[in-house]
């Protein structure tokens, strides 16, 4: 049997993302990577918590943050998590076109989120002169939230690349694991955001 036949079976299996050894490896390996990412973000959160009072005379968190924008961003990202669940649902049912539609919605929501985040940073810099260099709080805030934003950007590029590459050929056992782990990554981004909006924004507002 050639590779083509193995990867394009007549009947797609129940869990196409784990049907091949390569798929299983990707699946397990990516979960392990997320375990490492947990420590990465914990280090950033720890740094932020250690420095969240170090305003060096500049504005503090209570003064800076506006909850309306954060609420909208949270809703966007949470919803994008659900839409990527829908995409995986259709992948398991081997309905490629619907999967692509839901991934498209996920990307759109992610782009909106990123747009708001850029606006937020711009706002802080120009209204409050609160920058990466102005205080230790600024350094820690932009690093933590910026790392998350970087993950969002990378996730968007990743999902769009996968969509573009596979638009014509449909689902097979070679690309199913790729779609699946991209969606895991997207969920993980949401997990991190849950802690960011709680620890950075809400706790920052409470004081």
């Amino acid at each position: 049997m050639s590779n083509e036949d193995i990867l394009n079976p007549k009947q797609m299996p129940h869990e196409p993302e784990k049907a091949t050894l390569e798929g299983k490896n990707k699946f397990v390996g990516f979960w392990f990577f997320l375990g490492g990412e947990t420590v990465l973000f914990a280090s950033l959160f720890g740094t932020y918590l250690a420095l969240n009072d170090s305003t060096a005379g500049g504005p503090g968190t209570e003064e800076l943050f506006g909850l309306e924008l954060v609420f909208v961003m949270t809703m966007l990202l949470l919803t994008s998590s659900l839409t990527s669940v829908y995409a995986m649902y259709h992948m398991k049912n081997n309905n490629f076109s619907k999967m692509m539609v839901w991934l498209g919605v996920t990307v759109a929501l992610g782009l909106c989120f990123l747009g708001f985040e850029i606006y937020e940073f711009y706002h802080y810099i120009h209204e409050y002169e609160f920058t990466f260099r102005s205080s230790a709080l600024g350094s820690a805030f932009y690093t933590l939230v910026g790392f998350h934003g970087g993950h969002v950007l990378f996730g968007l590029l990743w999902i769009m690349t996968l969509m573009g590459r596979n638009a014509k050929r449909g689902l097979n056992l070679y690309n199913a694991p790729k779609f699946y782990i991209a969606s895991l990554y997207w969920h993980f981004i949401d997990v991190v955001w849950v802690f960011i909006f709680t620890v950075v924004y809400l706790m920052g507002k409470v004081g």
Binding site: N8, K10, Q11, M12, H14, K18, V28, W31, F32, L34, G35, G36, E37, T38, V39, F41, A42, S43, F45, G46, T47, L49, A50, L67, F71, T74, M75, L78, S81, L82, V85, Y86, Y89, K92, N93, N94, N95, L184, H187, F188, D190, V191, V194, F195, F197, T198, V199, L202, M203, K205, V206, G207
Partner: protein, 105 residues
């Protein structure tokens, strides 16, 4: 290449997927509710010694939903992923505890 997507022995799996999807929609609704509750708590200006533990708890519950329902960690074959996620969380916990307690000099 022709794909046989609608064969009968797929029906069971489809129903299974559908049920899982329902659970996921329910957990999504819960997450939205928790988020709104957390924001509402902060806006309503209650004592911070009450607010902070509650919003942290809500965040943890949300993350459990994400991991177990959205990322399928409740399903079979996720033993090693769960082990490594919990390992990561343990180190994460130690790290954050350190940075909130013994960082002064």
């Amino acid at each position: 290449m022709e794909k046989d997507t609608n064969s009968t022995h797929n029906e069971f799996e489809k129903a299974e997927h559908k049920q899982e999807m329902q659970h996921q929609v329910i957990s999504f609704v819960m997450m939205i509710i928790f988020t709104i509750a957390a924001f509402a708590l902060v806006v309503s200006d209650i004592s911070k010694y009450f607010t902070i533990p509650i919003i942290l708890l809500l965040a943890v519950v949300q993350v459990v939903f994400q991991l177990y329902y959205f990322m399928h960690m409740k399903n079979k074959g996720h033993e090693m992923p769960a082990l490594m996620i919990y390992g990561g969380l343990a180190v994460a916990f130690m790290t954050i505890l350190t940075f909130t307690t013994i960082i002064w000099w």
